[in-house]
Subunit: 580 residues, 2 copies
């Protein structure tokens, strides 16, 4: 003890030197990674049927960004689309200090106009499996997305071992254009695009060309040239060496679908969710909701003389869409050797208990827990309902359907442009009693663009309460995604959330941190986050159609702490009149 | 004489009083006409096949604007498209004093962003048959157009008599989306959308539903629900009373096609072209090129017990597209009584002499001639060629393919933003010897966004020289349209324009004033105009695909005389950084 006391000053000094050295080293090693992207339309055949997609540098999916935590990403994006604006959201990146580069049209920035070049520049603040995607209209569903993988800072180590690092983005795919899909959503009567035609693994699937009319010719529509030997729709290949262990990173970038992932004959150990280590859980298959990312470990410990299916199936909605398939390729088998085994089968689409139970398995990894604050400063209860406005079907939160502004809300708050959005904040609680088990008695909602403003550094609870849709005996999964933050998932429940009792069961010990979480049919989920990131942040259902139908809100905190905004994000709506 | 001299002062005074009175009267009568437009996608079936169109207030074609010369048109346009910008060009309106409301994206203004409301406000300076249409990407071809009819000032009279005033806009129609069409134009290899599926008269045609595969289902593409009893595709009806004479206004708003109009059994007397009276000519049928408008008179002097076809056929391109048909309905026959006679047949598609001869018939009406200035201050010779850039097919003028800027050129010139466009003006003459009869030996062109700047009030001649395309033995019709001005058509010719000799044959007496004129295959056309309208004005081929492929130039004059520009037109490109 004495020696310790005597040497304390010296030890402290050494610690500081080491810390400084470490900081300098990592600082010195932190890189600036430059990318130049050209966004344009492209004919592409992800499932062997050709259609117009939105591609980056002629690629689909877009180029993978890979960086180390602490690196700065610089993306110079030039928009070559003839009429449409573009933005890119960096899903899971917190944009600390750069909320204007969050890439949400009319929230963090104006759309990048045709012909313009816009430069995103931000630090990837932590390691994990992320992705990026368009965040205006339904451009993600048109193909505008890619992987964003952040490795640990140099010198840091993962708490699990693996020999190889693989990644896939998984999604659903329609032959109708997103313009057509968007039009259906605003039509009276409502027209839903229906089941996806295909499920894609890393942008590849396979449609049954015999389903295409033989007389289907150029000039008759958007989908032509069904050709199953097209290289663009050959199954994606995951190459593995027998006996080795792999980390497989999976991002669900789907427009709509909850997807169940299976690696035929191989168990999966979940180790990461949305960029955080989770307590390892071994599962036969993995549910991923749109907006979620996971890392799983698996060992190539099966019969090495054959290949295996990597498969995705729709969950949560009754669907006729065939299984999406990729090939787990045991080297040295040829990658073209398709398994003769049938497509793997997932749990029943409506086995919601299975889904709920798997969600409850996701907990912070021991030793890496970041316990949530013990209590919240403010509680929001979001009654999410399907409604109508002027005869059009919408989604609403406490009876408000989000109507996008034409001015970036970030600028409106920062500069006090009061005509740019609804000054009345939307309600913290449902405005009237409700019954979640039946269609709403009064279906009419109201448009709003109000903002939930939080005291800086305050702790916020959000309870999302799911309900019956406009159709009797129907309630849908909604994966809610928060920008600029992660939240602790305090608990899931069935039926109506009862504040007094249900809050007693919150997990305050090893609640997982996530940026996306699903609320299940007729259920609720409770989240907590700290409003400590100055900016304006959407919180919304990650289903493209649902967001397009108004299922989102805007959170904001600390906007008065921000410096002058870059002019590059302005120019639309009122900002052209007021640019400071 | 003496009395006259004595009374001169009094007569002058009376004249001034009358003039003032007239001015006050017309001034007092000049109206402000307000319109509120919502632009959005809509499922529509113009030819019985349903697809997504761009509609105004749920209408296709868009609402007709009808005004008197001198009236002020105010259009508040709100853009409901989820991702695309919108602008509206008022085709044939000079925008004197309001060049910022000419409605050309990135020339006169920034696109109107999704969610924004933009107000156009301009005076219709003269009477005539005009139209309006989208002028970004290929939005006109997506259905974004309508008629703009300007009647004479109150108290003025037409130099011809008629009992009724009818109007139609005619165009070509594809089932593929314009996004698909645009993608084809930038693809390698080039993919042209091919023949239109239908020809429409006032937005209505009829596709043969038996050509649609029976197994063609929702989810397979953009075109569905072929239904020939759909009211949206019933033939347009032109109702007439037997024995009466009608003025029929026709606007060719086609994306591509030169269209020949026939009124079965009725002769047509051409009386107006592009808003100017022309010397009356009687024709059996009328060629109209995209961007042209005409008025014809006809008398309902045929057997009144039946109806007749109004018909349009493609000219200038070999086409398999069926005749577009409307019904000339002799009252009191039912309008549903379709003629049993076959569809009218137009001159052979490649009878270019017919086309040329008809163009030469169009001359200024006697007594209304406005002779062109005797000579020009500057002469431009535009060698228009089909070329390639980076393997993509383009069109070029003197080897420059127009590349749109991302900043409105009007603002760039007015405010001296030199980085916003190419400061080097494009060449006044072809840069090297050429052979118009064969594909160009060196196919490569260059992108450019330079501006032809004219001394204010100077007289400019433009000779457009047509050439062989990249394919042997092929040369195409190009209808050239000038914004902000009309031009005198001094002459048409075959083969290569020879300045010394061909200029001798210019019509300086009764040359017609027009805003659009066709140059025929392997031929030339010579135009003259006075650069007396301060602003920045595109001059381009009116074929959507050709403009998209760079077939245009920018003219400018007197921009330094303009007042501060409205901020509403800014916000894109460099303007967001420099907004004054």
């Amino acid at each position: 003890m004495k020696a310790w006391c005597v040497s304390r000053g010296w030890v402290d000094g050494l610690f500081m030197v080491l810390l400084l050295n470490f900081a300098l080293t990592t600082e010195a090693r932190a890189q600036i990674r430059h990318y130049q992207w050209k966004v344009d339309y492209l004919y592409f055949s992800p499932d062997c049927i050709e259609k117009v997609i939105i591609a980056i540098n002629g690629q689909y999916p877009g180029p993978t960004i890979r960086a180390h935590a602490g690196d700065t990403i610089v993306v110079e994006l030039q928009n070559f689309l003839p009429t449409a604006g573009v933005v890119i959201h960096w899903h899971g990146i917190h944009q600390i200090g750069t909320p204007w580069f969050d890439g949400t049209a009319f929230v963090s920035q104006c759309p990048i106009n045709p012909g313009e070049t816009f430069t995103y520049k931000f630090i990837v603040d932590r390691a994990g499996t992320f992705f990026y995607h368009g965040h205006i209209g339904m451009q993600r569903a048109a193909g505008l997305y890619g992987s964003l993988i952040v490795d640990l800072r140099h010198g840091e180590k993962e708490p699990f071992a693996y020999d190889g690092d693989l990644r896939i983005a998984i999604n659903d795919w329609w032959h109708r254009s997103v313009y057509d899909q968007e039009t259906g959503l605003i039509s009276i009567p409502f027209r839903f695009v229906g089941d996806p035609q295909s499920l894609l693994i890393e942008g590849r699937g396979r449609y049954n060309c015999s389903l295409v009319p033989t007389s289907f010719v150029l000039g008759s529509g958007d989908c032509v040239n069904c050709n199953i030997s097209n290289p663009q729709c050959q199954p994606f290949v995951l190459p593995v060496e027998p006996g080795k262990t792999y980390r497989l990173r999976i991002a669900n970038v789907a427009s709509l679908s909850s997807l169940n992932f299976i690696l035929e004959g191989h168990k999966l150990t979940i180790v990461e969710a949305d960029g955080y280590y989770v307590d390892p859980v071994v599962v036969e298959n993995l549910d991923l909701y749109s907006g979620e990312t996971y890392s799983v470990l698996f060992t190539a410990n099966q019969d090495a003389s054959r290949n295996y299916w990597a498969a995705i199936n729709v969950r949560g909605r009754k669907s006729s869409t065939p299984t999406g398939l990729a090939v787990l390729n045991y080297l040295l088998n040829p990658s073209s050797m398709l398994p003769s085994t049938p497509s793997p089968v997932s749990p029943a689409w409506n086995d919601f208990d299975y889904s709920l139970n798997q969600s409850k398995l996701i907990l912070a990894r021991k030793g890496y827990e970041v316990p949530p604050p013990a209590k919240a400063d403010r509680e929001l209860i979001f009654l999410t309902t399907q409604n109508k406005i002027d005869g059009r079907i919408k989604w609403a939160i406490n009876n408000i359907t989000y109507a996008p502004t034409s001015t970036p809300v970030l600028a409106a708050l920062k500069y006090g442009w009061k005509k740019a959005y609804d000054l009345n904040p939307p309600p913290d609680y449902p405005s009237r009693p409700f019954n979640i088990s039946a269609p709403p008695p009064n279906v009419n909602a109201k448009f709003g663009s109000g903002v939930y403003k939080f005291q800086f550094d305050s702790v916020v609870d959000v309870i999302i309460q799911n309900t019956n849709t406009l159709n009797p005996n129907n309630s849908e999964i909604h994966p809610w995604h928060l920008h600029g933050h992660d939240f602790w998932v305090l608990g899931h429940g069935k039926g109506v959330f009862h504040p007094a009792t249900d809050s007693q069961s919150y997990n305050l010990k090893n609640a997982p941190l996530k940026n996306t979480v699903a609320v299940f049919p007729y259920g609720w989920v409770a989240l907590r986050f700290r409003a400590d990131n100055p900016g304006v942040w959407p919180f919304h259902c990650h289903i493209e159609a649902h967001l397009h139908m108004g299922m989102g809100v805007i959170f904001a905190e600390g906007w008065d702490r921000l410096p002058k905004l870059p002019k590059s994000i302005l120019g639309c709506g009122l900002s052209k009149f007021y640019i400071p």
